[in-house]
Amino acid sequence: MKKRLAVIMIALVSILFCISPAMAKTLTIGTMSPLTGPYAADGNDIANGAKTAVAIIEAEGGIPGYDKIEVVSQDTACDPRQAVAAANKLVNLGVVGVVGAYCSSSTIPASEVLNEEDIPMITPASTNEKVTERGLPYMFRVCGRDDDQSIAAGKFIKNYLKAKTVYIVDDKTTYSQGLAENVAKQCEKLGVSVVSHDHVNQGDKDFSAVLTKIKRANPDMLYMSLQNSSSGSLMAIQAKRFGLKCAILAQDAVYHPQFINIAKEAAQGVYFTFGYVDKTKPSYQKYYEKYKALFGEPGAYSAYAYDSAYVLLTAIKQAKSTDPAKIKAEIMGMNIQGASKPIKFFENGDSTANYIIQVVKGEEFVPFWNPETGTLY
């Protein structure tokens, strides 16, 4: 009796094991982003963006030679140690390319691991210069860089707002602080005086002390460089409550539909530096519809993640191979219109940037001012 039961169980288990290994040939790509912890919102957007790209590629006929494209999402929790573990896990799973990571402090050590194994990595969100300036051959970036963004911000402050005094606040993360420093440099170069460069801590909710200081300093503009949109909206709400009259300029990390949802009236008229997304382009429409159908309203980095995965998969498709050198060659030669922007890569792995100024109007962000031409949209 017992013996028979044991035999049946063993049989069942072995059947289960036999079924699962791929009868079909699967192409696996990985994503790395913080799925838990304080940046989980952006992290999930990234994973979803990549999945959207896969869905679209599969709908367009997939990649020849493969029956299925699989996305493996790994959590980095924005912790370097976990990011390295995640990268190693992805190496083990035999991914041909990785989309990620989010925090630059995760991207940097993780990219070292992936590059040891010659696995291409495309980051949709890490804007620190160091990401691409370490000479890693398989490191690419779809989003812009901090220095590009600060140039656009500087032009806007000087030429459009004609501000004389600027108050800069950042929340001490690799990204937000780096950007804030670049903006401060730009301002000095353009002869705009920086009244103060103040810092708050990441995750703070109460900005009353610093806002009271700003109110006393009475600058022409507040530059708000914060790591995530919720901090940004909290600061906007409180600024409004304290009766702050100056213009507010924020950056791409604060740029998120959540910002408007939370800040509501306080969000109105806040300016942003963000990549120019032409929402009328078919490439955007295609992405938007699919994303909306699968995951709902896209987040700030969804489009970049989508483009990253799209670029990676397209390169594999065109190269007809998963050989990293060939993929790289294809990526470097690419010149396409993505969902977020026209994409073309430079030698070091960075891609074209096209920062413009957007403004919150009603319930959405609208293009406002073009720093290249100095004209309103």
Binding site: Q74, C78, P80, R81, V84, N88, I108
Partner: protein, 408 residues
Amino acid sequence: MIPGSKHIWKKYAIAMIWLLVLLWPLLGIHADGTLTFSETWSVWIWIAGVLLGLLMLVLAHRSSTSRMVRAPVAIAMEKINRLGKVMPGKVWMVLIISVSLLFPFLTDRYAQDVAINVLVYVCLGLGLNIVVGLAGMLDLGYIAFYGVGAYTYALLSIHYQFSFWLSLPIAACFAAIAGCIIGYPTLRMRGDYLAIVTLGFGEIVRIILNNWMELTNGPNGILGINAPGLMLPQFSNGIGFEYIYLKKLHYLYYIVLLLCVFTVIAVHRLNFSRIGRAWEAIREDETVAELMGVNIFRLKLLAYAMGAVFGGLAGAFFAARMRFVSPESFTFIESAMVLAMVVLGGMGSIPGIILGAMALIVLPELFREVELYRMLAFGAAMTVMMLFRPKGLIPAKRVGTRSEEREG
């Protein structure tokens, strides 16, 4: 938990159901007033599945049906026990050492990476064990020493090109000094006051690392730290020596294994020396220890310093292995994790802490498959483990209660 009493189990089950029912409204009600329970089913299925699994385990344990599984296990256990008696402890030691030496040849890089993490945390856990397990002082800011060690090596490597091996003792020294600085104001405090002060110090260290731009490069972290190197003989042009950086994962594995073995031996020997005895006496009864000629202030400081030394060593290795450090690695939750390893493994017990570190590093990695649920499962697992084994997985052979816990 005292099993066996049906009454208690019933009460407990009712409380459990109560908790789950209470969690219900948070599940499906959305802020806009709509109800979407469709998404919540997956959560419920998970919870129900886990509960069912636990119930099955308990039932199987109770009834004889589990004998099918238990009998062979029992036989195996008996055999192992018999083996354990036949084979002296040394043989086991050799077995463990050989497995850990051969590990990189048997596994892939992900497993090696996890193993490195485990070993780093074993060092940290053993270091914290000196403070918490041996001397009986609750420390919630231990990760600060890890940070000090990591930044010490990072800065020495970047600015002065110090080698990893030379930096190890320096990092240990700096961490020890930090330990004394943190320890000094806490000497008169007891129990939970100590906890919040150490927590505060831990946060202060992290905030300083994050804000002292000139020294630490703030949140950008420090990049380009050298990996550990070795002088290796070179035979191509006659005989020469070349400095080779050991970047490959399995080299790093051996280095941290070495560090870990050193830590285990050192902690073990300290524990069984006059110093360990004095620590234990302080833990058991601080007042009496002082009346029996133990300079409690000095020994408490020493406990902090020694704990910090091992934290610092682990930190230096961490910097060398990541070749990048940033303040994000030294948050309070890391301190809590290390403490969890010590308590979960069994305070004061070296094998316990090794097991605890394994459990707490490997568990989240195992749960990696379930992505979003991993931290949920991890939290629940932590509570459940504590409920079933309040003294830890492998309690120390004799774990004393801390002196202030005694009545009267």
